[in-house]
């Protein structure tokens, strides 16, 4: 039976500075707390910058408005990619790594000064890249900066600073865990959430090294020191960074799914072995996925593309499909053990839908899996990529994964970080109840609008597709769906940022008194420790509903995937 990490005495010493959390009974190192707050604040700042850019570029692609001139469209699209895909995500993950390696282990932060160095490097890098892109017209080179498209040298330098900063926190994460283990802060295995974060951290290590392999030569090339840089090789290295970076987001998001499920419904993982195995599959196979971006590149063989794009044998996809069962199943078992065990979906009807952590997690899982995951595997199929590469179907896919999935999960988690770490009362609770639904609904339309536009051949990163002359008129409708979705999602984004700012900037410091924010005064996290194997194994508590849900998912997956082969079969013969 699961227990809280033992509360071994904190070594008394001048450097130690901690508080005990009244809700979780965990110890919170004050150094860690300040680092978490700083990184989380920067994450939200970057989300705000990227969000403003998002609104403006969406209103440009929506043909009715076609707001920005071309140069500003490409400039803000570059910023949007960097601020969202890199800065917002990574700052939030850094907060997560400081949190996971100390608070969740009852441990101290072993290297706070290095933590601040990391934060400063990342902040300087993040602000610098924003400045360079905004003020240097030659640096609108998109997040990918494909050589020989040349940006200002400071552009590459800011990437490098940011990446070095992030790498330092990743190393601190491992160091903190080693110190915690040595000092006996926890016994036995790491909690599953920390295990998931560690998966993210290991992937991040080689991701950032590959980022260096792409960006350091590009930096030297932009300075004129390096004369020749092969564009094909750069693409390979860049995606060695760019793709696994998204898998860092994936692993961190799944870890947060487990955390939110436990915090809001009191789950205990059905089988630790099953869940951990799924993370291990990410670890070993996900780095192959950089091939997804090179499937229609010259110079690479079919065998190389097929083995890499399929993560050897879709083994990383298998990992995600395992989580796709194990999380809903754990929620079902926890709910059934509370007595909601009539029929297949009684447990779901009686779930805490008003609790922002629960609703954002559920929306995140559904949108990530049903939209992001299914479209991702499909467009990542070697041949099918030929009818999708660089069309709007691509951003349609990753707005399903990193935005509807990861961003929504991070947003939901923030609402709990505010009382537990910032120690401020969460304000505008009625907004927080609605926000995940509004943001999620907007993102559904964004993804669907993009995917259906892409199916009609609309290119991504393109200011005005009507130049092409051949796109059908229905594109105006699908781009309008995308635009309307973007407006709704913007409202959701504004609500999120307002809730966060109002909560942390107003009101006195207040120790948290409750785990749940809206739906009750009970503490699901502590209740989960009372869920014994015996209760979980009772016949009426079996996750039959979750099994039905994953099979429904598989049917949708198969329909979408096979339809795309059919579409591919209709194009010109090509080899």
């Amino acid at each position: 039976m699961a227990t809280l990490a033992p509360t071994t005495p904190w070594t008394a010493g001048a450097k130690d500075d901690y508080r005990a959390c009244p809700v979780t009974t965990l110890k919170v190192d004050m150094h860690a707390e300040r680092l978490i707050i700083a990184n989380a604040v920067m994450a939200v700042v970057c989300l705000l910058l990227g969000g403003i850019a998002a609104l403006l570029i969406a209103l440009t692609r929506w043909q009715v408005f076609h707001l920005l001139p071309a140069n500003w469209f490409y400039k803000l699209l570059t910023l949007h990619g960097i601020d969202m895909l890199v800065a917002w995500m990574v700052f939030f993950e850094m907060a997560g790594l400081h949190f996971g390696s100390t608070v969740l282990l009852n441990a101290r932060h072993a290297a706070p000064k290095l933590g601040w160095l990391s934060f400063i490097l990342m902040t300087v890098g993040g602000l610098l890249v924003n400045g360079v892109v905004l003020f240097d017209n030659a640096s609108s080179v998109m997040f990918t900066a494909y050589v020989p498209l040349k940006a200002h040298p400071l552009f590459y330098l800011s990437y490098i600073l940011f990446a070095v900063g992030a790498l330092i926190t990743v190393i601190i994460f491992f160091y903190n865990i080693v110190v915690a283990k040595r000092e006996g802060r926890f016994t036995g295995s790491l909690p599953l959430v920390v295990f998931g974060l560690m998966t993210a951290a290991i992937i991040a290590t080689y991701t950032l090294l590959e980022g260096a392999a792409a960006m350091v030569p590009a930096f030297l090339w932009s300075l004129g020191i390096l004369k020749d840089l092969d564009p094909g090789i750069y693409r390979n290295f860049f995606w060695g960074f760019g793709h696994p970076a998204q898998q860092v987001n994936l692993a961190a998001m799944v870890a947060i799914w487990y955390a939110l499920a436990q915090m809001t419904t009191g789950i205990r993982p059905l089988n630790e072995k099953f869940s951990r195995l799924a993370f291990i599959l990410y670890l070993f196979f996900i780095n192959l996925g950089s091939a997804h971006h090179l499937l229609v590149d010259p110079g690479l063989s079919f065998a190389w593309k097929a083995v890499n794009t399929s993560y050897a044998m879709y083994l990383a996809v298998l990992g995600s499909m395992m989580h796709a069962f194990s999380i809903p199943a754990a929620i079902e078992v926890a709910q059934r053990s509370k007595g909601y065990n009539k029929g297949l979906f009684d447990w779901l009807r009686n779930a805490p839908w008003g609790e922002p952590g629960f609703s954002s997690m559920v929306m995140s899982i559904i949108l990530f899996g049903w939209i992001g995951g299914v479209t991702g595997v499909t467009i990542g199929t070697e041949q099918i990529n030929m009818i999708t590469h660089n069309t709007l179907r691509l951003p349609g896919h990753f707005h399903g994964t990193v935005v509807s999935g990861t961003t929504l999960a991070f947003m939901g988690f923030t609402y709990y970080v505010i009382p537990l770490i910032f120690r401020k009362e969460l304000k505008l609770k009625a907004w927080a109840k609605l926000q995940p639904y509004i943001f999620g609904a907007g993102m559904i339309l964004v993804s669907l609008g993009m995917i259906t536009s892409g199916l009609q051949g609309v290119a991504r990163r393109h200011w005005d597709i009507t130049f092409a002359g051949t796109v059908p008129g229905t594109v105006n409708i699908t781009l309008a769906i995308f635009g309307i979705g973007a407006l709704i999602a913007t409202i959701g984004g504004i609500m999120y940022i307002t809730i966060v700012l109002v909560s942390i900037l107003t009101g006195p410091r207040l120790e948290a008194s409750n785990m749940l924010l809206v739906t009750g005064t009970n503490n699901p996290l502590l209740e989960s420790t009372k869920l014994t194997d015996e209760i979980m194994e009772r016949p009426q508590n079996q996750p039959k509903g979750a099994l039905v849900l994953v099979f429904a998912f598989l049917v949708w997956f198969a329909v979408y995937y096979l339809t795309n082969w059919w579409l591919l079969g209709r194009v010109w013969f090509i080899r």
């Binding site: 094909g232 010259p298 069309t391 079969g569």
Partner: protein, 176 residues
Amino acid sequence: MLAPERNWWKPMGRMEKTWLTVAFVWCVFLTIMMPLWYYMGKNNVPTETYRTTPADYGTKVNDFVAQYQTDTDAATGMPIVAAPPGSDVYIRAMKWQWFPVLQLVKGETYRLHLSSMDLGHGFSLQPVNINLQVVPGYDYVATIVPTSSGDFTIVCNEFCDVGHHTMTGKIIVVDK
């Protein structure tokens, strides 16, 4: 979020096993589809590639146009080139044009060469919806058979600086 019990290495339940098996079988199916299509399908990603330089490739394209030009496109002034079926046909990508206009015959085979004189570009044939990456220094050869006739547009779908969206080209396919 909590530490697991000391020994968490336990056999999986019946439902986990069921789902794991089904999911794994699905993954195997996904894997098999690619080689299956590679050997049996008619729409595969080209792999034939040669090293080239912008200068060499430019010369080849000019020779090709000089040899087979039949007409000039009224709207753009671009040469229309109709090479005999089975031959090598060339398209040159550069900021911000696809050069020249190709005229092909439906149902015939061509070896289509793609390369760039400057930046990376994206060859996106619409409304057929075939998309290939064009990388400078690489001569990418696609063996194609047009299966429909009419005027087709080449859109650039890799960002290539501020005039990117104006970069369009044309392929004309005539019936036999």
